[in-house]
Amino acid sequence: MPEEREHSWIRELEHKYRSRAARITLLVRILQIALFAAFIILWETAVRSGWIDELLFSYPGKIARMLGELAASGSLLPHTMTTVAETTAGFVLGTLGGTALAALLWWFPVVSRVLDPYLVVLNSMPKVALGPIFIVGFGPGYLSIIMTAVSVTIIITTLTIYGRFREIDANYLKVVRLFGGTRGQVFRLAVLPGSLPTIVSTLKVNVGLSWVGVIVGEFLTAKSGLGYLIIYGFQVFNFTLVLSSLIVIGAVAAVMYGLVSLIEARLSPGYRDR
């Protein structure tokens, strides 16, 4: 068609734009990898040349060997799985519990007014300080570790999501009420779905917070898990073990965060394009 020939220059522009964008993406990736490689090389060299203390900082080669040994002996996976399970339980329970509490506050405005100062105090308190109490209350083990993670996440989740509940445009609530909707229907059809993006982004923040709670919990009480490996390594002055555990934590935490971001991206288009 003649029309197509006329507009071939537009396609050319588009093509140019795309290949330029692809080149920039490639450059970014190369720089990211180069930065990582430079860091590893610098670390290794610094230790080998005696610039920094090997006992304290270990070095990449030794850490890689340690990880290999741990994996071969079959103890790395159980420790990792324990911590991953505790962290997942922590952020899922923290987010669900926080959402439920926020729903309670929305449903009973008087309760929300009564609880307001308590929530403010709880929120500004360092929740991991409650760890010892959880250990006594729930016994030394998974439950008190998960509770520590939940305590870190739940209050801030409640406050964030309750804030979102109250921000929903009153006209959406009006639409449901005009059709004779009950308070429960207003919540289910307008308030909760309207807050879903906030709930998911809270979930993302809670992944990070839950790690803090779980590692501290494991410091205090655990007999397995990555936090336990760190404390054990510290006690026997094996900093290679400490750093190896840290690297596993970093990798697993990044994967978890990526998975939650994937959930966020799968939200229906109507949510994302508001």
């Binding site: 445009d169 006209n171 959406y172 009006k174 639409v175 449901v176 009420r177 005009l178 059709f179 004779g180 909707g181 229907q185 059809l189 307008a190 779905p193 309207g194 879903l196 229906s268 288009p269 109507g270 949510y271 394009d273 508001r274």
Partner: protein, 273 residues
């Protein structure tokens, strides 16, 4: 003539931390079945308050609101309401948005879905049924909101400046569409607007309100020649110009708060209307 809506001695005061504010005072108004009535007036005349009272969203402090002889005590599916904007739920596609009235009533089923599909087609939205609101233009969204309201087959349609957020051309098209829909279905309509031209072109009667508190100042009958034409055409009727000027004169008087309207001392200005 059957009375569809009746306001008898209706006054309403909002009470809040800043004190009480009288929004509307001593309203008496009958709207006949199938009639199209517009409410116009300066800001603060309680237009939206009146619609909320008619819809049963708020209970009047004094007086009664009746729908077909029965006291209105809460939202009622017989009364449809169109808001200033579409307020379609962004996470539902157009069809699911239009079906929400049935979902709330617990009557969503094949029959309801057929009815909504038919209405969507009738309003030129068949191709947009599976689309999300953000993919549609403002005019299409407001049409979808109209489908959502009409799907429950209301006897009364309350219109709260539903065209005010639209471009002029789209506004004229929608005015015609709503006018024809209301006529064809024998629906009783109450339109709140600040656009005097729109009020004159669409309605059978125009109610002019005073502000602070809202009171009925006067009611103007629209000549038959204008009533007979659809809104976009009605504007070209020879009688339209004089009608518009009369309306404007009355509104200006009411905004000036002429000597006869100094009553109601002690009431505060109400920003909610």
């Amino acid at each position: 003539m059957d009375v569809m809506l009746r306001l008898s001695g209706v006054s309403h005061a909002y009470v809040g931390p800043g004190g009480a504010a009288l929004a509307v005072d001593g309203l008496n108004l009958d709207v006949a079945a199938g009639e199209f009535v517009s409410l116009v007036g300066p800001s603060g005349c309680g237009k939206t308050t009146i619609l909320n009272l008619l819809a049963g969203l708020i209970k009047p402090s004094r007086g009664t609101v009746e729908l077909a002889g029965e006291k209105v005590s809460g939202p009622n599916p017989r009364i449809g309401y169109m808001l200033q904007q579409d307020y379609l739920f962004p996470w539902r596609n157009i069809r699911d948005n239009a079906l929400i009235g049935f979902e709330i009533a617990g009557t969503r089923g094949p029959e309801a879905e057929r009815r909504v599909d038919r209405l969507l087609a009738e309003f030129g939205l068949a191709g947009a049924a599976r689309r999300f609101p953000h993919e549609l233009s403002g005019g299409m969204r407001q049409r979808a909101a109209l489908v959502r309201t009409l799907a429950r087959e209301p006897d009364v349609l309350l219109l709260d400046e539903p065209f005010s957020a639209l471009d002029l051309l789209i506004r004229l098209q929608l005015e015609d569409l709503v006018w024809e829909t209301v006529r064809a279905r024998g629906v009783t309509a109450v339109l709140v607007t600040h656009d005097l031209e729109e009020a004159a072109a669409m309605s059978d009667r125009v109610v002019i309100l005073d502000a602070s508190p809202g009171r009925i100042r006067t009611v103007l009958d629209v000549p038959a020649s204008i009533r007979a034409r659809q809104p976009s055409e009605a504007r070209w009727e020879p009688e339209f110009g004089p009608l518009f000027h009369r309306l404007r004169g009355m509104i200006q008087d009411s905004e000036g708060g002429g000597p006869g309207h100094a009553r109601g001392a002690g009431t505060q200005l109400d920003s909610r209307a």
